[in-house]
Symmetry: C2
Subunit: 232 residues, 2 copies
């Protein structure tokens, strides 16, 4: 999360191979992962690749498209098996995988969450829509009516994204200093106005995101199953 760690080595200056969309996007992702979203400028990325910044426009129309490409790249790391007969297990696994993904690429999460807000559903990068399609498939194959599948998907994905945001928001850089840092921050809060929050400092400090996610998913899935049960 700290935006200036592990600067990426500026280029393999000898190996000036032909560029490709893959290469450009991978470099962009590496840059974002290691130095944060703001570090992803055209010039900087060009420099990483040992190329003139202008060349990048051959592989992404503009900076926004580049960001979309990075989102897509990350989402492609997510494997979904739409043929699993146990839909609940599958959704639970996906949830954990997506959480891992988010923890692995925390700087990309704002993109995942924000970019779709400026692009109507039908015009998003295809890679971005694949999880939706596949989960629908999973649910429909499991016996849900298509419209119900959509409802399940929405509740599920909504909660999932929400959880990830929550968890990243409470994420603190150095896990050893967790509690200290946290207390430090909380100490700033006026005790009169924030007694509950301050009292919870220790609990906040050892947040088990995985367990929390799992519980929420359990509640949601069983609730959803009870309400809109697949006919299977």
């Amino acid at each position: 999360m700290s935006p200036e760690e592990n600067p990426v080595p500026p280029a393999a200056p000898g190996a000036k191979k032909r560029l490709s969309r893959e290469i450009v996007l991978s470099a962009a992702l590496a840059l974002v992962d290691s130095e944060g979203l703001d570090a992803l400028t055209m010039r900087r990325l060009g420099q990483q690749l040992g190329r003139d910044p202008m060349g990048l426009y051959r592989y992404a129309e503009n900076r926004a498209a580049l960001l979309d490409g990075v989102s897509e790249l990350v989402l492609n790391e997510l494997a979904i098996f739409p043929d699993d007969p146990d839909w609940q297990a599958q959704l639970r696994r996906i949830a954990h995988d997506l959480r891992d993904l988010a923890l692995r690429h925390p700087n990309v999460v704002p993109l995942l969450v924000t970019r779709p807000l400026s692009t109507p559903l039908g015009l998003r990068p295809l890679g971005t829509l694949r999880p939706l399609e596949q989960i629908l498939s999973l649910l429909i194959d499991a016996g849900f009516a298509p419209a119900d599948a959509l409802h399940v998907y929405r509740a599920y994905y909504g909660y999932l994204y929400g959880h990830i945001l929550n968890e990243l928001q409470e994420f603190i850089v150095d896990p050893d200093e967790n509690e200290a840092l946290l207390r430090l921050g909380l100490h700033r809060l006026p005790p009169k106005d924030f007694p509950r929050l301050r009292a919870l400092a220790p609990v906040l400090a050892d947040y088990d995101g995985m367990a929390e996610l799992d519980e929420g998913i359990t509640i949601l899935l069983s609730g959803l199953a009870a309400r809109l049960s697949p006919e299977a």
Copy 2:
């Protein structure tokens, strides 16, 4: 959502009153609401207020702080009554209120969701933390153990934010053209790869966000209540 509607009138040129943080932030919010996040530049905001852009730095350290201020301003529109004895009803009402807020200020949602990711919990603008504190208070007063209250809060707020993101992502500008636009977008998708999604076009077109939210909340709250019941 369309970023260039309703341009704000450039200033009341006669009435050059003394500025204040409130005034600046309100103008910023108005700008964001009417023309989108990108329109909020220092120069533009200065122009709206009939002042030199540099003057704004008296009221916000830098652009990021300005964005935080806008978030805070919006969240202040949310009323929470931590003394309501019926915690479930209260949480349900808050959920609907927050959803309304998001629909009223869609361009601010990315801020609400994104800014906290770059600020450790203890250092956020106080207005931003108030909902957390108050909901904790509500739950603890209702009989939850503090640690359980935190869990409930996390599941609840997680789902709530997730839902809002979902809903805004499916939001289409002109409600009359909803279906047409949507189909248009979806038509672009290769039928082989996205059969489910394409088939669901009509269902996607009449999304009832309020009902969907309410259902999800019901499931979550009753699930949570069953698992971690207040001793009351």
